[in-house]
């Protein structure tokens, strides 16, 4: 186990280096003028000042020097103040957000985290339940139904499904609005009496003992959760089904049946735990994918997470912000993937020998 974890840990610096190179490669597509937003708030209009900025921050230096400055920042010799440097969490200035990219992340990422936490439970629980039903009733009505369900689920683009949800549950029924919270709730949240403990709105509202705000927040999250759930159920159903079918064919299951165990116990106690091993990995990677900011879902529902921040910046061609956000997401995903892989090593001993 130790070797497995060590080997997996050794991959992390490689991935980190690779992702920074990948993102920096795209940064270097930009002109020096555009890149100056990495270090200064306002790109000077005046040509002379512009040249001074480009010179000061070495925006026409050789590429490896620029990469280094991009990583650790550059000290302004006049003031002795460090500007830029992604390793210090300075991702530059966001033109579309009118604030540092790091602040944008601080504002948006808790919302994405909140959505992930609430979405993953129904996704995994219901998805697994459906997959097991399909496998236990192999080729029966539940199986065929599940099949239709999953083909439809995989064929629906997120944004089409999301728009249809909005059409039905918002435009027609007025049940579940898009966005993050209603106006009255936002006013409370922005006021002095509100205390942010975790920055996750659902949990903070409970800690502030404001049940009305909790309900309001949840109402805004129903549609994104439903959209994410439906599209992921199809995948969970498929994986659980095929893994369960495989397990039900094993000899030890036949033995259990031959001993005369009731079918319920055979399925629930003997087959299910082993069948769920690949599903656990899938669940891990789904959490990772959700954390990465579900770009389209957040955009459709106007949900202020990190995914919609990326999409907004991209649509406005604010490339530097896009790349800053992407870099942050990449770093989060590398860590999250590591956690999933190590957890998988604990669950399934076979993987360690690989």
């Amino acid at each position: 186990m130790t070797t497995y974890i060590l080997r997996r840990l050794l991959l992390v610096p490689v991935l980190l280096f690779g992702v920074t190179i990948l993102i920096f490669g795209m940064v270097s597509f930009l002109s020096p003028v555009e890149r100056s937003a990495l270090y200064v708030r306002e790109i000077p209009r005046n040509d002379l000042q512009l040249q001074a900025v480009i010179k000061q921050y070495g925006l026409e230096d050789p590429i490896y020097l620029q990469y280094w400055h991009w990583l650790v920042g550059k000290v302004n010799p006049a003031t002795g103040e460090r500007r830029g440097g992604i390793l210090f969490g300075d991702f530059g200035w966001s033109r579309t957000g009118s604030q540092p990219v790091a602040d944008l992340i601080r504002q948006r990422f808790p919302n994405t985290l909140d959505l992930t936490l609430w979405a993953i439970v129904p996704v995994v629980a219901v998805g697994i339940w459906m997959g097991i039903q399909a496998a236990v009733h192999h080729n029966g009505a539940a199986d065929q139904g599940g099949r239709v369900f999953s083909v439809i689920g995989t064929s629906f683009p997120t944004f089409v499904f999301g728009l249809l949800m909005l059409m039905i549950f918002y435009a027609n029924l007025r049940w579940f609005p898009p966005g993050r919270s209603s106006d009255w709730a936002s006013q409370v949240i922005l006021s002095d009496q509100w205390r942010s403990y975790t920055y996750l709105l659902t949990i903070d509202s409970l800690l502030n003992l404001r049940l009305d705000i909790f309900v309001d927040t949840m109402r805004h999250m129903v549609l994104p959760i439903l959209t994410l759930a439906y599209l992921n159920w199809a995948v969970f159903l498929r994986v659980t089904r095929s893994s369960m079918l495989e397990t039900l064919r094993q000899d030890y299951v036949t033995t259990a049946r031959a001993k005369g165990l009731p079918e319920k116990d055979v399925v629930n106690k003997h087959a299910r735990p082993n069948a769920l091993i690949p599903v656990v990995t899938l669940a891990g990677f789904t959490v990772v994918a959700l954390l990465g900011g579900v770009v389209i879902t957040e955009t459709v529902f106007n949900y202020p997470g990190i995914g919609s921040a990326t999409a907004d910046a991209a649509a406005n061609l604010d490339v530097l912000t896009v790349l800053g956000l992407a870099l942050f997401i990449g770093l989060i995903l590398i860590v999250a993937n590591l956690v999933v892989d190590v957890a998988y090593g604990f669950i399934d001993p076979r993987i360690r020998l690989d």
């Binding site: 991959l11 490689v14 991935l15 690779g18 992702v19 190179i21 990948l22 795209m26 597509f29 930009l30 099949r147 083909v151 439809i152 995989t154 064929s155 629906f156 683009p157 997120t158 944004f159 089409v160 728009l163 249809l164 909005l166 059409m167 918002y170 435009a171 027609n172 898009p178 994918a289 990465g292 900011g293 770009v295 389209i296 955009t299 459709v300 995914g307 990326t310 999409a311 910046a313 991209a314 649509a315 061609l317 490339v319 896009v322 790349l323 992407a326 997401i329 990449g330 995903l333 590398i334 993937n337």
Partner: protein, 348 residues
């Protein structure tokens, strides 16, 4: 299918051997491919899938006849009936910029007045026209992206698998790095970087989908090659001194490539979906280009009024769903056919 060959006179060895009639088609395709084709043609699910795909192919080919363009040189520009923001309902009449009347309209409806069959979207873009010509955009991008990603995937995967060792390790770590970011996000950022350089066209999104789309193929083909590489005929070719490139091209790839080829051809649905997602997010084609994702994105400003303007979501949305579903249905049936455990159970 199986029948016993009756020996003419004599009692040869053939007496006990059951022979199957092998038709010319099977001889042409080889037994494995033939089995897959037959199984696919027998499954109702995949027949429905093929029917959907065929329907869209016909629409794409007949687009100039179904919805004649206003400017034959720029058929992908959706004709707009004025500039008002509010969408117009279905069957409302054309007022301005009316394209030629399609030939099939009068025999069916008996009038000369061409209408907005499916209504107009924000900015008076005709939905019917956009959907019909969007089919061409879908096939164009789908085919190009699939073809190029496949080629890149095959080249990278086969080089990696054939040379093994350090080369393999470096290439596969590169693949890991490329896979760190979620696909749509990665494609989105690259398209955003490229758009200011290349201008708004099909190009940025296409390049972005290609750049981050080939890794899956290279992994699959690498695995298949690693298993084919162990076979005796490869060793034999090496022993007699055949060049590396020739062994790879003539002996290994043809034997390893088939599953990848089939899977790739069915990935067109996913590619079109991703492309539509990018244009939905506002990256890629210029405004007014016949492209399903963009047509859908017009609906984003009308979310509160979708109970009235439902058609601006439902028609382009359903078109996209049916298109993707066609490929998925065939793919689903195919996955069963490929699954070795299903073999010998009457196909799918």
């Amino acid at each position: 299918m199986a029948e016993i060959a009756i020996p003419k006179g004599g009692f040869g060895v053939t007496e006990a051997i059951p022979l199957r009639k092998i038709g010319p088609v099977e001889r042409l395709l080889g037994p494995e491919t033939y089995r897959i084709v037959v199984a696919l043609l027998k499954t109702p699910v995949s027949i429905l899938g093929f029917a959907l795909i065929a329907f869209f192919i016909v629409v794409a080919l007949a687009a100039p006849w179904i919805a004649p363009p206003l400017h034959p040189n720029n058929p992908y520009d959706i004709p707009r009936d004025g500039f008002r923001a509010q969408p117009q309902p279905m069957m409302s009449e054309w007022n301005r910029e009316q394209p030629p009347l399609p030939a099939w309209w009068k025999p069916i409806m008996g009038t000369d007045q061409w209408v907005h069959l499916l209504g107009t979207s924000e900015g008076q873009y005709d939905l019917f026209y956009g959907i019909v010509w969007g089919t061409r955009t879908a096939f164009k991008t789908g085919l190009i992206v699939t073809f190029v990603t496949l080629i890149i995937g095959i080249v990278v995967g086969s080089v990696s698998a054939y040379y093994g060792g350090a080369t393999d390790n470096i290439i596969m770590r590169g693949v890991d790095i490329m896979l760190t970011l979620p696909f749509i996000l990665a494609a989105l950022i690259l398209a955003a970087v490229l758009t200011p350089k290349l201008g708004r066209s099909l190009l940025p999104a296409t390049i972005a989908l290609i750049a981050f789309g080939w890794m899956g193929y290279s992994r699959i083909i690498r695995g298949d090659i690693l298993s084919v590489k162990q076979r005796d005929y490869v060793m034999a070719a090496r022993v007699i001194g055949v060049k590396d490139s020739r062994i790879l091209m003539r002996h290994i790839i043809p034997n390893a490539i088939f599953p990848t080829l089939v899977l790739a051809s069915l990935a067109i649905g996913d590619v079109v979906l991703s492309f539509a997602a990018l244009s939905f997010l506002g990256i890629g084609t210029p405004v007014g280009y016949a492209d399903w994702g963009q047509t859908l994105s017009f609906a984003r400003n009308w979310i509160t009024d979708l109970s009235t303007y439902w058609y601006i979501v439902v028609w382009p949305g359903m078109t996209l769903v049916l298109f993707v579903m066609g490929w998925n249905l065939v793919g689903d049936a195919l996955r069963d056919v490929f699954d070795p455990r299903m073999r010998g159970r009457g196909g799918a």
